[in-house]
C-alpha cells in the first residue's frame, strides 16, 4: 500500500513509524524543515518538505497513485483542505482526517472525507463510562448503515429492571446483541431474558433512536 501522511508531528511521526514497520510504502509531507530532518534521521528518506494542501506538493508526492491519504496536522482546516485536494483532484480512494475539535467530525464527513478520527471523542468515552448518569457509550459506528453499536449499563432505578426483553419498548431496528452480567458469561439475550440492575447491554441502534433507547434502559 502507498500511504501519504500529512504532518509529521506527535500523531504523524508514530503513525509513519508503525506503517513502515508493517512494510507499507509511506511518504510524509511536513512543513517544518527541522522536523523534516528529525523524521529523516529516524525514519529514513520518507519525507518531503512542503504544504500538504498544495496541489503542486501533492503532485510531486505522487498522490494520484496513493491508496490512502491521512491528514494529521493540529489544524482542522488544513486537514480538511488536504483531504479534499487529495480526494477531488487526485481521486485518492480513502482519505482519513484527524479531527482536533470533535464538533468538526460530522462536517468533515459531509464534505467528503472518508474517515475521521477525533482523539477527544475517544478520550470522552471512558470518562463517560465512569460517570454514573448512565449515558450510552459509543463502541462503533457503522457509518454506511447509519447504525451505532452502543453499550448501556442499567441503573438501579431503571424501569427495565426485572423486565423480560419482550416487554421493552425498543425502537424499531434496534438489536440487543449481548447482555453482560457480573461474574457470568456474556449471553445473547432472548425475548425471555430478564434484565437486572448493573447489567451491561450491548445494542445496535439507528443514530436517531439513541434517545429512545436510552429512555428504555435508563429512564425510571
Amino acid at each position: 500500500m502507498y500511504i501519504i501522511v500529512i504532518g509529521g508531528g506527535i500523531v504523524g511521526y508514530p503513525l509513519c513509524r508503525a506503517l513502515l514497520s508493517e512494510g507499507h510504502e509511506v511518504l510524509v509531507i511536513e512543513k517544518d524543515a527541522k522536523r523534516c530532518d528529525y523524521l529523516e534521521d529516524n525514519l529514513g528518506s520518507v519525507c518531503i518538505r512542503g504544504d500538504g494542501c498544495e496541489a503542486a506538493t501533492l503532485e510531486e508526492a505522487g498522490t494520484a497513485r496513493a491508496d490512502i491519504f491521512v491528514a494529521t496536522t493540529t489544524r482542522d482546516e488544513d486537514n480538511l483542505m488536504a483531504c479534499q485536494v487529495a480526494k477531488y483532484k487526485f481521486k485518492v480512494a480513502q482519505t482519513i482526517a484527524l479531527v482536533n475539535d470533535p464538533v468538526n467530525e460530522e462536517l468533515f464527513r459531509k464534505l467528503g472525507v472518508d474517515y475521521t478520527v477525533s482523539v477527544v471523542t475517544h478520550l470522552l468515552e471512558p470518562i463517560k463510562e465512569e460517570i454514573p448518569t448512565g449515558s450510552l457509550t459509543h463502541l462503533l459506528s457503522l457509518r454506511d448503515e447509519g447504525m451505532e453499536v452502543v453499550e448501556v449499563r442499567i441503573p438501579q432505578d431503571s424501569k427495565a429492571v426485572k423486565k423480560p426483553v419482550r416487554e421493552l419498548a425498543l425502537p424499531p431496528d434496534c438489536i440487543l446483541a449481548l447482555v453482560i452480567r457480573k461474574e457470568q458469561k456474556p449471553q445473547v439475550p432472548t425475548l425471555d431474558t430478564v434484565l437486572e440492575a448493573g447489567d451491561r447491554v450491548i445494542a445496535l441502534t439507528r443514530g436517531e433512536d439513541e434517545a429512545a433507547l436510552r429512555d428504555v434502559f435508563i429512564g425510571s
Binding site: C53, E54, A55, A56, R75, D76, E77, D78, L80, M81, Q84, V85, Y88, K89, V103, N104, L107, K110, L111
Partner: protein
C-alpha cells in the same frame, strides 16, 4: 440584504463599511478584537468575536437568516472551510471566499465554491494596465 463577513482585515472591514453604508444588515466576525478597530466609527452593523468555521459561532452571528456570506480571513484554508459550512450546512444562497493561492482552483470548482483569487485578479489588472503601452510601442 443580510450579510455575514468572516475576517475583519483590510478587505473585510472595508467591505463591511461599504455594505453598511448602503443600508444592508452586516455582521462581521474575527478571532481578534483589535481587528474591529479597522471598522469606521460610522459602522452600524454588528461585530462579533469568534471563529467563522465554528457552527455555533455562525448561528450566533445569525447565519440561518443570512442572504450572503463572505470569507476573507488571512488563511485560505479557513476561508474554504467557512465557505463550505455556510454553503453545505446552512445553505446560504450566495457564498464567496478569497483564496490567495490560485493553483487549487479546480478543487474549489469541484466543491462548488465561488472563490476569488486576488493574486490572479491583480496580476490580470496589472497586465491590462501595461497592455496599451506595449501595443503603442510596437
Amino acid at each position: 440584504m443580510n450579510v455575514i463577513i468572516v475576517g475583519c482585515g483590510r478587505v473585510g472591514a472595508q467591505l463591511a463599511a461599504l455594505l453598511d453604508a448602503e443600508g444592508h444588515k452586516v455582521t462581521v466576525l474575527d478571532i481578534d478584537t483589535s481587528s474591529f478597530e479597522r471598522l469606521p466609527s460610522s459602522f452600524g452593523g454588528t461585530s462579533l468575536l469568534g471563529d467563522g468555521t465554528n457552527q455555533k459561532v455562525l448561528k450566533k452571528a445569525g447565519i440561518e437568516g443570512a442572504d450572503a456570506f463572505v470569507a476573507v480571513t488571512q488563511e485560505d484554508n479557513c476561508n474554504v472551510m467557512a465557505a463550505q459550512v455556510a454553503k453545505h450546512i446552512f445553505s446560504v444562497r450566495k457564498v464567496v471566499c478569497r483564496i490567495y493561492d490560485p493553483l487549487r482552483k479546480d478543487v474549489y470548482d469541484a466543491l462548488g465554491l465561488e472563490a476569488i483569487s486576488p493574486t490572479t485578479v491583480f496580476a490580470q489588472l496589472l497586465k491590462e494596465k501595461l497592455e496599451p503601452e506595449a501595443e503603442s510601442a510596437s
